[in-house]
Symmetry: C2
Subunit: 614 residues, 2 copies
């Protein structure tokens, strides 16, 4: 396409952004206008994408990290001929897939954006899949804003991309100098961005982001650069092309004040149509070809004998390694604690599908999201406490509707001496509140193995909470533990109270039941291994039989097992008496047994609680 036509295309994209925001009465036209020339040249000359076949494994990926510039993205789709003018003008309306920030409700959007600083880390995950799993020549293009370069997650991604030599990744930085509330820290100082990215190992190119030829050349250079990722750092004007708003403060995130005049100033509406280049190779709408996924060392599903002492984290590692032998789409990601989470068992068996993300939990989750978008089944693992570092990425993964599997080890005070910084005491609250999540918390090695197997089939985000210390095996290796189930471990007609635990507190509950039985007090004990969804039926039965339920959890009192059980009775029907034991103190260093006692969740505390109830 000629330069003049590309300039026309840029103006069309601006006009369409202005019109979409005007129709919606909200949105970010000025942030779209700064990047219009970058987007137009990319679409016309560089992106290889079969819009009729979004599942084509050879398609390039385009991630709009500055998701608020969605009008530009939708204008690009119109230019590509996959949405028409009428649909463009449904922007932000109820029922339209053209949301305020892009989501995969549109088939050409891989991941939801809108929380800034996430596009590059997720793009790194996709590019890593391209390089080391798919081994296909697609490129990943990430368009981000300059404000979001302040997010630490961008630098986690930048470091990982350079370390992995992702020359299939291009970051386009739209340096329009203006953030939401005023100038950015760096303004138009392109050199500073280039110096930073260069120091992180990137090839960098500085361009005038409104010079079509310069952009074109830069993208060519990016594609031709080997052995490292490239950043195209583009100086642009926010609101480019409309004098009233161009490079002016106070016009972020709102329609243009005079849209009709603006469209006129931009040269009116146009219908330039781009015939986007398709990738080579055989199209398919199914999962990508996997050439890096063969099981390298067959691992059998682990089996544990009743009475053995095994930590659930050990059982997790062994089960994940076995799952990797069964399915070649399983990948595992470590946050530099694989020897603690035991994810390294997978790494030893399947080194080609094991990825070290170092101590960068946002990148850990982002890589999972990116690889999932390429059709893999990622398990991301770190300490339960440190998953909080990636909360926003997990939240956004739910907005994407994606299914990634997480394991948090070292949960609760029962880790012992390391103290509260290492204890996951908020993770159940965090993971329960994630839309569409499944939250599992095993107490036994065979149960852990079975739950890992079930996680592979979950539609949404799954979370497995594991414990540091060994505990006795309670179940046989052939027993099943369906998601949404529970296990009644002690039960009798004379039960006066039901004690509900999960993980370490199941074992404390059983000990308490023994203590109480010796005193003639019968209690029912339920292993609530599925915290979400919760087994309402069994809980209701126990309530009907015993009248009183006591939850016991190695977690703060809010958002965990106590709340999950209460939710099961929030159905308008009469509710049982409920009481909860949980970690109400701020722990310090102590042995696991001392910790459980100080927090009032050990067998003695449970027994005392039951005595006070009966």
């Amino acid at each position: 396409m000629e330069t003049g036509q590309l300039e026309e295309l840029g103006q069309q994209l601006r006009v369409d952004a202005v019109r979409a925001a005007d129709a919606a009465g909200s949105g970010h036209p000025t942030s779209s206008m700064s990047a219009a020339d970058l987007g137009g040249v990319l679409l016309a000359h560089h992106l290889r994408y079969d819009f009729e076949r979004p599942g084509h494994p050879g398609n390039d990926r385009l991630v709009l990290s500055k998701g608020h510039a969605s009008p530009l993205l939708y204008a690009l789709y119109r230019a590509a001929g996959v949405i028409d003018e009428a649909e463009l003008l449904t922007f932000r309306q109820d029922g339209s897939p053209l949301e305020g920030h892009p989501t995969p409700r549109l088939p050409w959007v891989d991941v939801a954006t809108g929380s800034l600083g996430q596009g590059l880390p997720v793009g790194v995950g996709m590019a890593l899949a391209g390089k080391r799993l798919d081994r296909l020549p697609y490129r990943v293009w990430v368009l981000c804003g300059d404000s979001e370069m302040a997010e630490g997650s961008v630098w986690e991604g930048a470091a990982q991309a350079a370390y992995e030599r992702l020359d299939n990744l291009t970051l386009i930085v739209d340096v329009n100098r203006l953030g939401q509330r005023g100038p950015t820290r760096e303004g138009w100082d392109l050199d500073t961005y280039a110096r930073k990215l260069g120091a992180f190992g990137w090839h960098t190119i500085e361009v005038d982001g409104h010079d079509i030829t310069a952009i074109d050349t830069a993208f060519q250079e990016a594609a031709a650069t080997t052995d490292r990722p490239t950043a195209v750092i583009a100086r642009t004007h926010k609101g480019r092309g409309v004098a009233e708003v161009e490079d002016q403060e106070g016009f972020h995130g709102k329609p243009l004040p005079h849209p009709e005049r603006a469209v006129e100033e931009l040269g009116g509406t146009r219908s330039v149509r781009i015939d986007v280049a398709k990738p080579s190779g055989t199209p398919t709408t199914t999962a990508p070809a996997r050439t890096g996924g063969a099981a390298t060392t067959p691992v059998s599903a682990p089996r544990y004998r009743a009475g053995d002492e095994v930590a659930t984290r050990d059982a997790f590692g062994a089960a994940l390694a076995a799952l990797g032998s069964e399915r070649d789409d399983v990948v595992a990601l470590d946050g530099e604690v694989g020897d603690s989470t035991r994810a390294d068992a997978f790494g030893k068996a399947h080194p080609d599908r094991y990825f070290e993300m170092y101590i960068a939990e946002q990148q850990l989750i982002a890589t999972a999201v990116g690889m999932r978008a390429r059709g893999y089944l990622p398990f991301a693992t770190t300490f339960a406490a440190f998953l909080t570092r990636a909360h926003d990425f997990i939240r956004m993964a739910a907005v994407s509707g994606t299914g990634i599997q997480l394991c948090g080890s070292h949960a609760g005070v029962s880790i012992g001496q390391d103290g509260p910084s290492q204890m996951g005491l908020e993770d159940l609250a965090m993971m329960r509140a994630v839309h569409g999540s499944t939250v599992l918390y095993p107490c036994d090695a065979n149960q852990t193995a079975r739950l890992v197997h079930h996680m592979a089939g979950l539609p949404g985000i799954g979370y497995l909470r594991t414990s540091r210390g060994a505990s006795p095996v309670l179940y046989g290796p052939d027993e099943d533990f369906p998601v949404g189930g529970s296990r009644v471990l002690r039960s009798g007609d004379a039960d006066q109270v039901t004690v509900i635990g999960a993980g370490v507190t199941v074992h404390e509950a059983l000990r308490a039941a023994d203590l109480l039985a010796a005193e003639g007090i019968a209690v029912r004990v339920i292993d609530l291994y599925s915290v979400k969804p919760v087994d309402g039926g069994t809980l209701r039965q126990a309530a009907d039989a015993t009248g009183c339920l006591m939850t016991v959890e190695d977690h703060h009192p809010e958002g965990g097992i106590g709340d999950a059980v209460a939710e099961a009775f929030a159905d308008g029907r009469p509710a049982p008496r409920l009481i909860r034991l949980a970690v109400r103190n701020m722990p310090a260093s102590a042995t696991p047994a001392e910790q459980l006692h100080h927090s009032g969740i050990d067998a003695a505390s449970i027994a005392a609680g039951v005595r006070s109830l009966v």
Copy 2:
């Protein structure tokens, strides 16, 4: 002190780290040994600290970001003469303040560490207080590990420190090349660390971290460097001084295999005592002198008239500005959305106490923690959704036992068209589960103003959830809303159901009550503005009177108001019938009214729910 003595000191610190971990049976001696010479030289020659007066405003601050190297810190305290040998050997034992990772249970520890990558961002907050609030010449020294340089938060802090020209800040990077599970990404490539930090605007010095003279010179150079922060990047050996473990993999986080032999190899126990230099100036144990804190523009407490339409975010901004006029210790921190959260009202009134953190939410919270440690009362503000980005920092602030105040705006689906990436739908779950937190959610402008006032007196972490859209003023400007309270807005003897809302759903509940009253169904309506602690007494009264409670919340069903109400009845007494309306869908773009309806939390949905119950 002579070089030879400093070498002796380094060996003493190593011996003490080895002994402490041996006594504990756990801990990180090898990570302590790599940094022993750095720590010793710092203590002996550079740190200005009055150990008898930790509250002295002129004291330097030492933040051990690599908190797992706590044995080194405690060994330094022994060398400074503030703990003795017997106390050193209580390391990690129940009841000892010498925890596995340092916490402010020790008077010389300002903030808890142990979640990596947090020391520098928090140190930036302290140094910023020193420069722009205290205006005192203390220095902030942050000792971090090399593995944690992978955390994005380090680069958020690095950028902010350079932007603010914090020449009172020194980062010491202990590059021992070995992380937990093996080599770091960069190994001993000091140049790469220096290049990155240099590109971020730092002065950098590379040294042999076991060369006493070189370290000494580097610290002198750091202190003499003006106009920018300095990083001393030190090449060290993990486990230095004990051949069996020095620079070897497999010895992270465990006592030395042969501690007695190791102590012998290190030259045996010693009792070198350092007379640490004190800061100049008059000592005080109270809050620091504040020279930057005078109210610049007096702002009166806002008052709103019943019936006016005011957004709670607007009321928050006005109330915060007024609080800043009442108290000169209040500071406000913005995450580049101050025009949306309305924190910019404070910025306009008190520009000297308003700090722009750009789009870096981890740094936003870390600055609050650092400034709080210097005696200020920080309010950190961004969208409720984006506070999830800083979850781990909030969690660690609770471990520190610190009191910072947070405000999250744009909560819930009621923001409308922007879509789910911008909606806080998990924030109540996150904030309720924070140890010692207070969670407030006003529905009205006068209530907001009063709650902001109360937040200034909270001992722990406070959270205020505000809404984007305007809503009618319900309360008078002189009414009080104590923390832990609630308001019964509709009440009568014939009430059949109690509807409990907070924020936007209070208004929907009132509308539903009107609809139902017209049908002859009387409902009680409670405004549960204090979500934690929750007003159990009023809820129990309502339960006794109406038998059935319905919660309605603009939040996912887990961890929010429904759970908070359920918790109030988890006291073993008979519980009422409960039902909860909450956001169970994944929203898309739509108007606020459409959103409330689609999520089933508008007046019509509430009325329908009540009808099905009665």
